[in-house]
Assembly symmetry: C2
Homo-oligomer: 357 residues x 2
């Protein structure tokens, strides 16, 4: 059942379970601190394909396939897929999932799409609209650079506040769990008896509002998104009467260094201190000292690949048991920024908890 | 409650109600056969603004405002907005709704987004996640031409199969209705006693699969989308054991003339004949004989503006009482079509019914 709590939080009383997940990244990400956590690392930027856009689509297909394998499910077992990416018209998602035959609902919230797809998939199974729903997102450094910034060949200088778009994808499968059993395809999910399939649950989600901080610098996305992150975190803590220390980890999507600092400042004004247990996926995935990524990683593939590897695998080990995942997005296009508009941000939150054995 | 029927259909037992709707279009659309049905017709392509993109965003804000006014609600009464458009990174939606303060979930399904947003809003209120949810979509001839095709100044020739992107937007508000009363903000919705507020209900929705017919001509979108329309209509009829004649109207989004003919042919192969009560929004909105639009209208604003004016107003008059609305989308980008890819289509269906007085 879905219970509305406070202003904007939705509690999912049966806690939809993450029954499978998968991650795949590119070479640079595979050279970073999280190397050992990823399921697949590609060293070729086109993944053996013809173009970066097709490679990004292939990344999505790969992580959905990995998630299905980890769950012991087939594409035909999935009732609905929520997918998104940063490319114009979200083609990584539509071409990536084209051959799988899963009912498809494209989502767009820039980099917040990671949390948005998981929130939608969770609501979908909790409401009875699906027994199993997939969530998948991706980004690719090369396809993003030429679309949002400059041709790679041009070799444009990057500003200190710029972030490095992650080449990567992450996918998770959410399944309905009620009265001690999986609904619908329960037998199939239960047959190999792996406990992980009912371990990680979605406790609640918080849908974000569009927040515009007046930032007009498209090379300072972290600042553009920090206000939205602060708004959603503050709202979630208030709605649920929680304190930051109630979580083992509060993890933002890709604020990077600049955005994270601004987030602390904004929450500080509300007397909320998350510095003790906050991490940012954009700072986890790269070593910002040695990997020349300036303010950190970004992109739909950043928090997706970090969540669906490092975070979920650490939850499975029960090293962390309660994670507030807050993915942030900058809802701009190059065209409208060139027209002088500021960049609005948005952040959606998903609260993952480890359920009892 | 949400009941799954057959393979892909979701029946909404309480029938979320359309409690408000609004439409706004441009000059050419206002000169077409549906002139008298639209709430607002703009004769200036920038709507008094600076650019076509900002004008399109303003169109979305306008129709959401019109929908709120018709419902007697404020933006603060809306728990969630599902919005989408055709522009890169869906900026008409994010900038259009930026100032309204409504929790925001961007949707992308090309022109199928119209049905997708309504389906998501309906599922959202039926599941208890929201009491009132908004659905809004838009397109703009000028912003679409320069993004998908050529600069307008270039004056490129249009092929006979090409469709004319509608400048327009449509918005609908869905509210939860249970046990003879609106949930949550019932008092506010009921206070002026207008019966329309509980008249039009969403009986069920059917989520589409990605269907690729192998079309590579970006000037023949109707053909690219016809397969998806046929698949979803066929699936819906089978899932619900309905026949085409059970509906007063089966209306597709924007297949145009070429796509509609292909749809009849594809359904004919399955012995399904919808020709007696099928209309296409792309052929309703323009007079294809005199308005030089070639195969008909298209764009997210096409079926949105037709649905949220002509169709819903005729339902309110009870001239039509059961409408299967099937919006179709071509999930391509110019970039990926230039890379030689075919154009996958998708179609989502929403079944509207008039409820008892």
């Amino acid at each position: 059942m879905i219970n509305r709590i406070g202003e904007r939080t939705l509690a999912l009383t049966d806690k939809p379970r993450v029954v499978g997940f998968g991650s795949a990244v590119g070479k640079k990400e595979g050279e970073g601190p999280l190397e050992k956590w990823f399921d697949k690392i590609y060293t070729d930027t086109t993944m053996g394909g013809e173009t970066w856009e097709k490679a990004e689509a292939a990344l999505q297909k790969k992580t959905v396939t990995l998630a299905l394998e980890s769950a012991g499910l087939d594409a035909a077992d999935v009732d609905c897929a929520f997918a998104g990416d940063l490319l114009n018209q979200c083609v990584s998602s539509s071409y990536g999932l084209r051959d799988l035959g899963i009912p498809f609902l494209g989502q767009y919230g820039a980099c917040s799409t990671v949390a948005q797809t998981i929130a939608m998939a969770s609501l979908c199974v909790e409401s009875g609209a699906a027994d199993v729903a997939a969530a998948v997102t991706s980004s690719h450094f090369c396809s993003a650079e030429r679309q949002f910034r400059y041709p790679l060949q041009y070799g444009g200088q990057r500003t200190p506040t710029a972030q490095w778009t992650v080449t990567g994808s992450g996918s998770a499968l959410l399944a309905a769990y009620q009265n001690g059993a999986f609904r619908g395809i329960g037998g199939k999910l239960g047959e190999n008896g792996i406990n992980m399939k009912r371990q990680i649950g979605v406790e609640s989600v918080c849908i974000g509002k569009i927040i515009d901080m007046g930032i007009t610098d498209a090379n300072n996305m972290g600042a553009a998104m920090a206000g939205a992150a602060a708004d959603t975190i503050y709202r979630y803590l208030n709605d649920t009467a929680a304190s930051p220390n109630d979580f083992d980890l509060i993890v933002t999507g890709d604020l990077g260094r600049v955005g994270s600092d601004l987030l602390y400042e904004l929450l500080g004004k509300e007397n909320v201190d998350i510095t003790q247990n906050h991490k940012d996926c954009g700072l986890l995935i790269f070593d910002t000292e040695t990997q020349d990524v300036h303010a950190g990683g970004s992109g739909c593939g950043c928090s997706a690949s970090v969540l669906c590897s490092y975070i979920m695998k650490r939850m499975l080990k029960r090293e962390i048991n309660s994670v507030l995942f807050v993915a942030t997005g900058a809802l701009m296009s190059p065209t409208i920024v060139q027209q002088g508009e500021s960049i609005p941000g948005i952040a959606h939150a998903v609260h993952f908890v480890n359920c009892a054995e």
